[in-house]
């Protein structure tokens, strides 16, 4: 039921937001008959994707070794209603079955009211309330929509699949705006909200295992600043978050209660020409574990991870596109080879879980504007972003592995 629980706000903000949501809903219901609903102001869109994954070692998106896995299905449908130019209501339902990550229930991906309180030719500013997509990096906002991704899977060094729940969306409010001057556009977003957490997955991702207690989101801050030159020929962005999480120990839990603070900062740059798109992002990920939380291994209270990738896309024709990418992630900048970690973990977790270097080449085919087929080959050294959920016994994972994946996607 957890995923349906739309009103799980922090203790303080909760009642206010709930009252706001209810009064908004009542307001809409009361006002509805007064407006003639204009059909063109309501839009419904969606997507469906199915991928096939084959690996020579390690499991990614289900049991991908051997004959491969079809356990990567994504389905989403959204509706938006622009009541006035200043006001829009939108929501998206998402169903996803990707390996053993997340639960396969229908989730409210976002559900928000967007009010633009100021707008003229030079700038506009507004506010969003409800469940909002986290403004992180270039791809996080639409990470589950295959059409918007630069490959079958996003650069895993930054867009980790196994911690996706934490990155998806948050419940709360966001201020945003845009300034336009000459050929330049400056955009900003500032969100104060409670990150959605999936107990099991977030615990596995941050605490290394499904713990006895509960790990939930606390009030957090996410911000992003974007700069566009000449309609996006050059795009630069900096995004940062201070995600706060609370751990409440369960019965007989060896770990005490405490807070975890996750502070990622992402620098993004993209260059666009008619045929080429060159993208690079760099991230530093800071984890701070409260004193009472026994992490594996328990000595590490602060960890700084580092990620970066360089990616080029080349459009051969309208229908064919090529992609190449080099993607690197280090779990701990003080232990890039993972030797210290492996010594502390005493063989239970191998050293190669602390880094990954991934070479990728891919091809995209668009038979029509609503259909897309992609194929991709990865050569990977390291298992830093390998989902634990698909590989419960991490001592059995292999350092050097290959991944091949094909995806078919439809949109409307």
């Amino acid at each position: 039921m957890k995923t349906y629980d739309y009103c799980r706000y922090s203790k303080l903000a909760g009642p206010y937001l709930r009252v706001l949501t209810y009064s908004l809903a009542i307001g809409v219901c009361v006002a509805l008959p007064a407006w003639a609903i204009d059909a063109k102001s309501i839009q419904v869109h969606g997507f469906a994707s199915q991928a096939y994954t084959l690996t020579n070692k390690n499991n990614f998106f289900g049991e991908s070794t051997g004959n491969g896995s079809f356990e990567a299905t994504e389905f989403g449908v959204n509706a938006s209603w622009r009541m006035f130019p200043q006001l829009q209501l939108s929501g998206q339902l998402l169903w996803r079955k990707v390996g053993n990550i997340g639960d396969d229930k229908i989730q409210l991906d976002y559900g928000l009211v967007d009010y633009r309180f100021f707008s003229n030719e030079q700038h506009h500013h507004g506010v969003r309330l409800g469940r909002i997509k986290n403004p992180l990096g270039l791809y996080n906002d639409t990470r589950d929509v295959a059409f918007t991704r630069p490959g079958v899977i996003l650069p895993q060094s930054i867009y980790f699949e196994r911690t996706r729940d934490l990155a998806l969306s948050s419940d709360g409010g966001e201020m945003y705006g845009e300034l336009r001057f000459a050929a330049n556009t400056l955009g900003w977003e500032l969100m104060v909200a409670q990150p959605r957490t999936n107990d099991v997955d977030t615990e596995i991702a941050l605490l290394g295992a499904d713990r006895l207690g509960d790990l939930g989101g606390d009030t957090s801050v996410i911000g992003r600043l974007t700069y566009d030159h000449s309609g996006g020929r050059v795009r630069l962005a900096i995004s940062s978050a201070r995600l706060n999480l609370e751990y409440q120990p369960g019965l007989g839990d060896p770990s005490g209660a405490g807070a975890i603070r996750f502070t990622p900062t992402i620098l993004s740059a993209q260059f666009n020409s008619e045929r080429w798109t060159i993208t690079s992002e760099y991230a530093r990920r800071n984890f701070l574990f409260g004193d009472q939380i026994a992490y594996v291994p328990p000595i590490l209270k602060t960890i700084t991870g580092e990620s970066y990738y360089l990616q080029s896309e080349y459009r051969l024709t309208e229908k064919w596109e090529l992609m190449a990418r080099y993607d690197v992630a280090y779990q701990n900048v003080d232990d890039e080879t993972g030797q210290k970690f492996a010594a502390l973990a005493a063989g239970a977790i191998p050293a190669h879980s602390q880094f990954s270097k991934d070479w990728t080449v891919g091809v995209r085919w668009n038979p029509s504007p609503v259909w897309m087929v992609r194929a991709e080959q990865h050569w990977i050294n390291g298992t830093a972003w390998l989902p634990f959920q698909d590989n419960p016994d991490r001592s059995k994972t292999s350092q050097n592995w290959r991944l091949f994946t094909v995806l078919v996607s439809y949109r409307f």
Partner: protein
């Protein structure tokens, strides 16, 4: 330049021996990109030139005929067919040369007299949703594969179609906006802009009526 664009066979067929190419014709491009009024004008001039040369050549040919020879019906028919053929070639060339160059068209109720390129980008990027007087903007676009659409985005907005589609997707799938309304043809575009207050779109045809208005880019 322009004379080279006519295949040798066609030139021989048209009997153009000394094709006089006006200097400004060297700017004329047939790929449909960036053809401003000066270029279109020079193309028209060149076409007229071509017709004139052909006309004189033909007269010359007829006058060189043996005296007394009757112009047979066969002869007449051949020349008529040839004339229609030439006209078709010229018309096709003209249409293909300037049909893709699109201009911004708005509903006549829109009070704005000119628009800057960056504002236009914000409007077609679906980020600017109101005219300065507060009236809602309704954006109409042609299907992604339509050459008029591609030309408009590249030449008038100065961005690439893949970028614009990406930014629409971002709005649609993050709940922060809506994509523009897609129409099937320029005819439908004309009709929808005429009947929708605050509407904006683009057309390559110049023969629109007073129900829509051209909005010059600053």
């Amino acid at each position: 330049m322009a004379a080279q664009l006519i295949p040798v066979k066609l030139r021989k067929f048209l009997n153009v021996k000394h094709s006089r190419t006006p200097a400004c014709c060297s700017q004329t491009r047939f790929d449909g990109f960036a053809m401003d009024s000066r270029e279109t004008g020079s193309l028209l001039w060149w076409m007229c030139d071509l017709i004139r040369i052909e006309y004189f050549a033909k007269r010359n040919y007829i006058s060189c005929d043996k005296p007394g020879k009757e112009r047979t019906s066969n002869n007449m028919r051949a020349s008529t067919v040839r004339n229609i053929g030439h006209l078709l070639i010229i018309c096709t060339a003209l249409i293909s040369a300037h049909s893709n160059a699109a201009d911004v068209i708005v509903n006549p109720g829109v009070s704005q007299s000119t628009i800057s390129q960056n504002t236009l980008r914000a409007i077609f990027g679906m980020r600017l949703l109101q005219w300065p007087n507060g009236e809602p903007i309704t954006v109409f676009v042609l299907p992604p594969k339509n050459p008029v659409h591609t030309n408009f985005i590249k030449e008038r907005l100065g961005v690439f179609p893949h970028q614009l589609e990406r930014s629409w997707d971002l709005l649609v799938f993050s709940g922060t906006g809506q994509p523009p309304i897609s129409v099937k043809s320029e005819k439908e575009m004309l009709k929808r802009i005429a009947e929708t207050p605050g509407a904006i779109g683009y057309l390559s045809r110049k023969d629109f009526d007073e129900n829509v208005r051209l909005l010059p880019i600053q």
